[in-house]
C-alpha cells in the first residue's frame, strides 16, 4: 500500500466512503420495500375480512378501532408515500453507482499504469 501515491490513496478512501453510502441507501431502501410489502399484504388480508369484524389500527401507543375502509385508505396512503421514498433512494443509488464506477476506473487506470512493465 505504501507504493500507492497519496492521490490514489485518497481516491480509494473516497471509494470506500461511497461504498458505505451505497450500503446505507441500500439498507434504507430494503427497509422501505419491506414496509411496502407488509402494507400490501395487510391490505390483501383486510379485503378478506367481513365488514362487521372489528379492525384496529395503531395510533401512537394505543390501538384504536376504525372502519375497515378507513384503514384500507390509510394503508394505501402509506404504500404511496413509501413508494415515492423508494424512487428517490433509487435515484440516489443510480447517481452514486455512476460516480463509484467512474472513480473505480480512475483508480484501476492509475494502479495499472503504475504496475505495467512498459511504465518502468
Amino acid at each position: 500500500m505504501s507504493s500507492i501515491s497519496p492521490k490514489v490513496q485518497n481516491q480509494i478512501a473516497q471509494l470506500q466512503q461511497m461504498q458505505q453510502q451505497m450500503q446505507t441507501i441500500g439498507a434504507q431502501k430494503n427497509q422501505y420495500e419491506m414496509a411496502v410489502r407488509e402494507a400490501r399484504r395487510a391490505t390483501e388480508e383486510l379485503k378478506d375480512v367481513p365488514d362487521e369484524n372489528a379492525v384496529f389500527m395503531s395510533v401512537g401507543s394505543v390501538m384504536m378501532q376504525k372502519k375497515k375502509e378507513d384503514v384500507l385508505a390509510k394503508l394505501n396512503d402509506k404504500i404511496e408515500t413509501l413508494e415515492i421514498r423508494i424512487k428517490s433512494l433509487e435515484k440516489q443509488e443510480t447517481m452514486l453507482q455512476g460516480k463509484f464506477e467512474q472513480l473505480q476506473a480512475q483508480i484501476k487506470q492509475a494502479l495499472e499504469g503504475k504496475s505495467s512493465p512498459g511504465a518502468a
Binding site: 388480508e45 389500527m57 384503514v71
Partner: protein, 156 residues
C-alpha cells in the same frame, strides 16, 4: 475476483482480505435474519398452541402477563374470536380457525425463507473458505518472495 496466486502482489492480498471481511459481514447479517425467522416460527407455533388450548378449556382462568413477572387472573370472554395482527400496525378480528390458518401460512413462508437464508449462508461459507485458503497460500508465497534475493542484484 482474483483467481491466481502466483507472482503475488500485496494489493491482491489486501483485496482478498477486503472480500473476506465483506463476506463475514454479510454472513453475520444473514445469521441474524435466520435467528429472527426462527424466533417468529417459535412464536407462531406457541400462538397456535395457545389458541387450541384456550378453545379446549374455555371458561378456565388464564394468567394475563402484564410484565415484570406480574400476572392477573383473567377469563377469556370469546375464545372463538381472536384479534390478529396482520402487519402494518393493523389488527383484525377473526375466528380462531382463521387465525390458525393465517399463522400456518406464515409458518410455511418463514420456513421457506429460512431454507433460502441457510442456502445463502452455506454459499457464503464456501466462498469465505475459498478466499481464506487463497489468502493463506498468498501470504506464504509473499513471505517466500520477500525472503528470496532479487536476481538482478545478484547478477549485477
Amino acid at each position: 475476483m482474483v483467481s491466481k496466486v502466483e507472482g503475488i502482489d500485496p494489493r491482491e492480498l489486501q483485496s482478498l482480505q477486503l472480500y473476506l471481511n465483506e463476506y463475514r459481514q454479510q454472513s453475520e447479517i444473514f445469521s441474524q435474519q435466520l435467528a429472527l425467522l426462527e424466533e417468529g416460527r417459535v412464536e407462531a407455533l406457541a400462538a397456535i398452541d395457545a389458541i387450541h388450548g384456550i378453545k379446549e378449556s374455555s371458561g378456565d382462568t388464564v394468567l394475563l402477563q402484564i410484565g415484570g413477572g406480574v400476572s392477573l387472573r383473567a377469563r377469556i370472554e370469546e375464545p372463538e374470536r381472536v384479534l390478529l395482527n396482520i402487519g402494518a400496525e393493523v389488527v383484525v378480528e377473526r375466528s380462531s380457525e382463521e387465525a390458525v390458518e393465517y399463522l400456518k401460512d406464515r409458518l410455511t413462508e418463514m420456513e421457506a425463507s429460512s431454507k433460502k437464508v441457510i442456502e445463502t449462508l452455506e454459499q457464503l461459507k464456501y466462498q469465505m473458505n475459498e478466499i481464506a485458503r487463497r489468502l493463506e497460500a498468498g501470504y506464504q508465497q509473499y513471505q517466500m518472495q520477500q525472503a528470496r534475493p532479487i536476481p538482478d542484484e545478484q547478477s549485477g
